[in-house]
Symmetry: none
Subunit: 209 residues, 4 copies
DNA sequence: AATGAATGAGTATTCATTCAT
DNA sequence: GATGAATGAATACTCATTCAT
């Protein structure tokens, strides 16, 4: 039994097989570049195809439609964030330290891929309701992992036990998001990762027991 | 000399004269309703005209183009927020109390106009880069007033003197924004203003000296 | 009360008002010419608009979509056939004579508009299932009138009383249709109306009592 | 020398050799099924290949292009009709009886293959001008055989000697065609072959000397 | 000032056909 | 012979904006 048929059974196959092919990632990466450089509304399928070095029609061998490309971009890239976060969660450190690592990791990933930062913070937010809802679905996974840090911190007495977990999450994510968006809008003039410790300290003061 | 005539000098007369005419507000209000009820991408000029009870062409007697309508919506409505905030700044209370009043006022205004909340938190963010930059310009005035509270609090020793003012502002605004957006996305199931004290407490802990 | 509001009450208004405007007929006539000269599959909306002397977008002020244009072409033109047939039905002549007049009228109308003949006999039959079903609906009205001649002839003893009305109708319409299509495919080399008496005689022999 | 090798000389060998291979018929039969079940415009080459159990590219080893498949469908199937008709022509019976046998045979063949009936009466007529002209070429052979019955009948004094042979053929074929199409459109609710004697009688009355 | 009919630029997607393996 | 991944041309429709009335 080959690898393909193995996955076919557990994961539905078609989808995964396509994601494994080099052109799938090629197109996703092309989409990030085209959207970042041209803006969401000027990111035509033909432009993405050209950037990926494939024919327009080839796009549709790997994606159902344009919407599918955009959601896949977010899914593929968000995957990196979730992976890093999951790794942080396994470490034997305090909740505060995990929070610091998360902020640093999050800032670091976006600092290292300016195109991606523009796409996630500015451009993808211009998408229509339907796409945004699907993106939110992907984001939820990340926020659920984030919650684990907060809950652990509260249980261990590091964070305020009476804290409203939803508000705390909104403060953490809202602060990070606002910080990154401002950085992107200021054309990355300063170093984002340098801000991580300050952001961490600010948030910690807010949540400390 | 009132505030309007002050701006009159800098912004050009035509604009202002038109803003005083009844149809100007009529169209702006229609735009809020149409965008909230149909979504940003389904808010055609003809729909706004119909809602406002004027002909399509009439829109262009009051607005340069569609973009101008959208920016005007934000400008006109944001005006209310700035006015309230300016009033809070004149009060003889602590910076912490001013912060609380601001959050409460901000939440209150949006709670009282669900259409506006949908438009500012969800729909207007789907606009293109250019419009978003202009909206940010309008928002800046509000953030500058907000900064005054933070600076005053730091000077008075209520807030941490070593705080990075930009980060603090991002935490405050990011937390509020994220809280409101979550509330809108949850279809206003709970009372937003009720969350104000909790948000205030959370932010205060973060900034306290 | 003006003419428009009068019709509005009885006929649904919008539709009719548009059909009365000169551009409606202008576009329908342009469609016949474009389809006849370019073939069904090469009759793009932009070509029809150009032929009609209007902008592409104008088409959509008068027609819901391309399908609507095609059905309207058949409806408008078939209207002439039905009108003539209804007039024939009012005449005080034998069923046989009515049949002769119908064939002559049918052949005459198509002889007089070669574009239309090509469109109805060859091109419109290439349309998809949905359009064809709608066209058949329009055609049904014509066949119902035709049935009246056959029924009258049977009642009056001119036609065979034991005739299967459905088969008789299929023979009459099938023969006419096949005759016209052959004439169109032979590039109108001979005179179609000249064939009317012969076709009439042939059909009459088949149906005579 | 058989009929095939006769044509071999005039039509080129490649064609014929391929027609004898099993995959040729496999693809033709698949095309009939796919067109009947999906409609002409939804009968993509890839669907036909799938139904035939071959790869898309394989189609092009047996057919020049898609058009060639469609014409071949008609040719192959029409072959059965011509064969039956040729057999009828050899029989020692009256022209009227031959006509009856032809109608019965024609109705019978289509009754026995509903897919084929749908394809020839409805779907293939949606093909473009060029294909339709080629189909008519194939049909001509059938009509030429049919003419033989009419000519014989006229010579023998069974049919009206003054009959216009072309019109008579159009009546015969038009009536049969219209009858079959109506039967197909009515979802084969009644028995088509049962109608053969009635159709025969109707036509005979029309042509009788 | 107000109208609303007319304009026309711009784009996602399908599918017959090819050709390297 | 057989495959199937890759190609790329071709087209209906929307809607912001104009301008004659």
């Amino acid at each position: 039994m080959n690898r393909h048929s193995y996955f076919h059974i557990f994961l539905g196959g078609d989808e995964l097989v396509k994601k494994d092919k080099p052109k799938y990632k090629q197109i996703v990466d092309a989409a990030v570049i085209v959207i970042a450089e041209n803006g969401y509304h000027q990111a035509q399928v033909s432009k993405i195809a050209k950037q990926a070095g494939v024919a327009d029609g080839t796009i549709y061998l790997y994606f159902k439609n344009k919407e599918d490309i955009l959601i896949s971009v977010f899914q593929e890239k968000m995957g990196m964030f979730v992976e890093k976060l999951e790794h942080i969660l396994t470490q034997e450190v305090s909740a505060s330290e995990k929070l610091r690592l998360m902020i640093e990791s999050h800032f670091g990933l976006l600092s290292g891929d300016l195109h991606l930062a523009i796409v996630t913070q500015l451009e993808l937010r211009q998408s229509n309701h339907e796409i945004r809802m699907k993106i939110n679905g992907v984001l939820r996974e990340y926020l659920l992992q984030m919650d684990k840090i907060l809950v652990k911190g509260m249980e261990d007495g590091e964070f305020d036990k009476d804290m409203d977990i939803r508000l705390a999450r909104q403060m953490v994510f809202g602060t990070m998001d606002e910080t990154i968006t401002t950085w992107v809008m200021n054309d990355h003039k300063y170093d984002l990762v340098d801000l991580a410790p300050k952001v961490h300290r600010l948030l910690m003061k807010g949540m400390r027991a």
